[in-house]
Symmetry: C3
Subunit: 344 residues, 3 copies
Amino acid sequence: MGKTNPGRFFEDYEVGDVIRHAVPRTVAEGERALYHALYPARHALYSSDEFAAACGLEGSPLDDLMAFHVVFGKTVPDISLNAVANLGYAQGRWLKPVYPGDTLRAESQVIGLKQNSNGKSGVVWVQTRGFNQVGEIVLDYVRWVMVRKGDLDAPAPETVIPDLPAVVPASELVIPEGLSFEDYDFELAGAPHRWGDYEIGEKIDHVDGVTIEEAEHMLATRLWQNTAKVHFDATFREDGKRLIYGGHVISMARALSFNGLANAQMIVALNGGAHANPCFAGDTVRAWSEVLDRAETSVPGIGAIRLRLVAVKQGAEPFALKTEAGKYAPEVLLDLDYWALMPI
Amino acid sequence: MGKTNPGRFFEDYEVGDVIRHAVPRTVAEGERALYHALYPARHALYSSDEFAAACGLEGSPLDDLMAFHVVFGKTVPDISLNAVANLGYAQGRWLKPVYPGDTLRAESQVIGLKQNSNGKSGVVWVQTRGFNQVGEIVLDYVRWVMVRKGDLDAPAPETVIPDLPAVVPASELVIPEGLSFEDYDFELAGAPHRWGDYEIGEKIDHVDGVTIEEAEHMLATRLWQNTAKVHFDATFREDGKRLIYGGHVISMARALSFNGLANAQMIVALNGGAHANPCFAGDTVRAWSEVLDRAETSVPGIGAIRLRLVAVKQGAEPFALKTEAGKYAPEVLLDLDYWALMPI
Amino acid sequence: MGKTNPGRFFEDYEVGDVIRHAVPRTVAEGERALYHALYPARHALYSSDEFAAACGLEGSPLDDLMAFHVVFGKTVPDISLNAVANLGYAQGRWLKPVYPGDTLRAESQVIGLKQNSNGKSGVVWVQTRGFNQVGEIVLDYVRWVMVRKGDLDAPAPETVIPDLPAVVPASELVIPEGLSFEDYDFELAGAPHRWGDYEIGEKIDHVDGVTIEEAEHMLATRLWQNTAKVHFDATFREDGKRLIYGGHVISMARALSFNGLANAQMIVALNGGAHANPCFAGDTVRAWSEVLDRAETSVPGIGAIRLRLVAVKQGAEPFALKTEAGKYAPEVLLDLDYWALMPI
């Protein structure tokens, strides 16, 4: 036998390895429609070809997070099949919009390894790149996961911990070619608030809540060809629960953030993120944001805003984040740090 | 703060106001596929490009109700966020088919206002128009809603009640350019019954029932970018139930009506409608129709049929509608009055 | 009245009858996206236009089973509305790939009839053909169903039992025009195993399990315009359960078989199949395969592999199939026999 994929164990990674992930994927208008059915997404640039064209693009790109999920999904069989935990993200950048009809594939390079002191697992850092059909990098990010050892007697590798910046510098944000907010229609976009209207430290409660169903998160996760069994198999965990893919919570929270951040149109960088607590079907997800920073970009009229996006579930205090002990409050699901582009 | 949308209150409307609704939306083949996954839709004109071409159209349009839902969804943040009840529809007409790739946006004009005698709310009448990317009106309808006052001390506006016809006159129905039923293939369409085979007063039980799941109505409602929290947030109502968007019931009933009305292909007018009782997940929806009228149109071979479409849930008596007291029976969900086009 | 479809009863079929099924259907990228959302489908040829082009095709075809489901769905109102049981399949062949934008319709010819000895029902054999918009046959298969008699006094027809081969001979498999595995990229496809690596008799456990939700199987079944009420109406069966369309289990099992059979790319023949036990929401579906045969094809580099695909639910023994009494074990849902194409 041996024809099924056992996944990689900690000892199977070596710093410098490049893994070419399987199953390229053409994404098109069907995926766009499903994204709108799965999340209350309303950012105008991703909703209307006409609005996007008025902003200098060739049409409405697929949601930036859709590109992320597709690329991430490709990495699961090679990176996180035997993962105990998804520990973090850093240095993520969106480099090219993805349009309907594009075909995405992904590669990851191992950039760090550290065996845990218990000798049973270790941390693997990978830099993942998503490519389109003409070989352009559309997305680039680092994530690190804790992976079980398959052979406990395998020797520990030399520890290599990559030097990761806490934040992508604003100077390194890539503005899509042609993007312009000169003729931006705030009324059609749904809110009058510009980049200059947001103050560092400002917090926004996005008001609305969405209760999640099993069918929805499974449809979404399969759509990204992420087939990790913990999301699909009710017989896998002892409690009979299916863990919701963390990316589903990211997309839900981002979509909810329209109500308060309607003009934070494009996500251009992922500075970091933590899936603070697991999310299960039946949970009602809400979101709030904090303005962490603002910066001008290389393009006049386009500002960058650095946002903390926090997803919480039912029972959370207003603007819940951490307890006095410095841990995430139990109702906090996600703490994400990203840069978006707004009209100045 | 103040960056989230509080919605408008009764005192925020003035007769004559035109509201340009936010977030235009490109609808394409993905939305068509989802429509077929969400509803048992089988009318051939909306299922097959070949069938539609044989009827003189450039291809299969998107379902008429999809155009309605998308336009309606755009109006929610401006019209019904603080609505207590959706009271009625009138004078609805479909003026242009919507094709995959079209971009829709919407505007509403306030055409009537009447404060309730309790001083806490009032009725707002709006005429809503949906536009495609070249500025053509694709859809036009009046609806009226009861909206809460935000400031109970705000003075009552002058009462203006629009004069609305009970029925769109057959002479005002718009037949899509090029539409012809000369080469209509009744076998492929699924039934031999022509316009002339239906008698005024005839009632048809559409036989089949569909039990609705939470995931389904939420996918549908989000797809139309209708994000009213009552449909999504299980913590919002005291009983923990999510109210199903009335349009979901309309589309379900219309799709079920294929079995008996397979040749009532295009919806061209909405004369009126009432969401008689709320629908919740777990309800099994059935439908019946009554032929209210028939009329010839300006195009030979194309007849108009005026139908009452009634959706009911489990426990309903055959052809249930009203009780002896003249109220809707508790199992009646929808009472819709529309004109459709059929081959003569 | 009499305007709704009562379905055909056993006495309504005559050997030689050709039934032209209703409601042609255009299938496009939306259906492809939904297929990926509904099933964990990852075969590269159906996921990536680039991968398919490298294999000599004009782009990524729609999943072969999607073509089957759409054609099958068309036959339901004419063949199985009054069916007691779906008894078997034989002699199925895929003759042309279906591409986004194609319009499918179906015809069935009655090729066999046998009244049951109880006089209350009988077996009907039909050969069904699916056509694309230019009249090419894309799919051809035989199925037989047990159908109730409507009029118990109707005379029994002459018994005609078609002579059906147990297996489609390898020499009759149709290789799509242009298909070539010369530049096949095993790494992108997700596994290194070629046709020559599989031995007759080899069994593969596909490892992963998927728990099925009501919303999912109803979305799928509606998408194929299969509106048989037993799948949708929770008030129809006494136990309140909705029976899952057997084709949903076929697609789920085939998608799961990627893990072990990633290079069994195209399904070209259906030799037979049994829906061994009913599947209901809440069941967790797993799959295993057995290599039944291998054959070369007319095209160098393309091998045919004959596979038994078995779907089971929770509680099944490893490689569960039949009990000592020769009946299907109660956890077995599906026993399918098909030919697929693999790179040699």
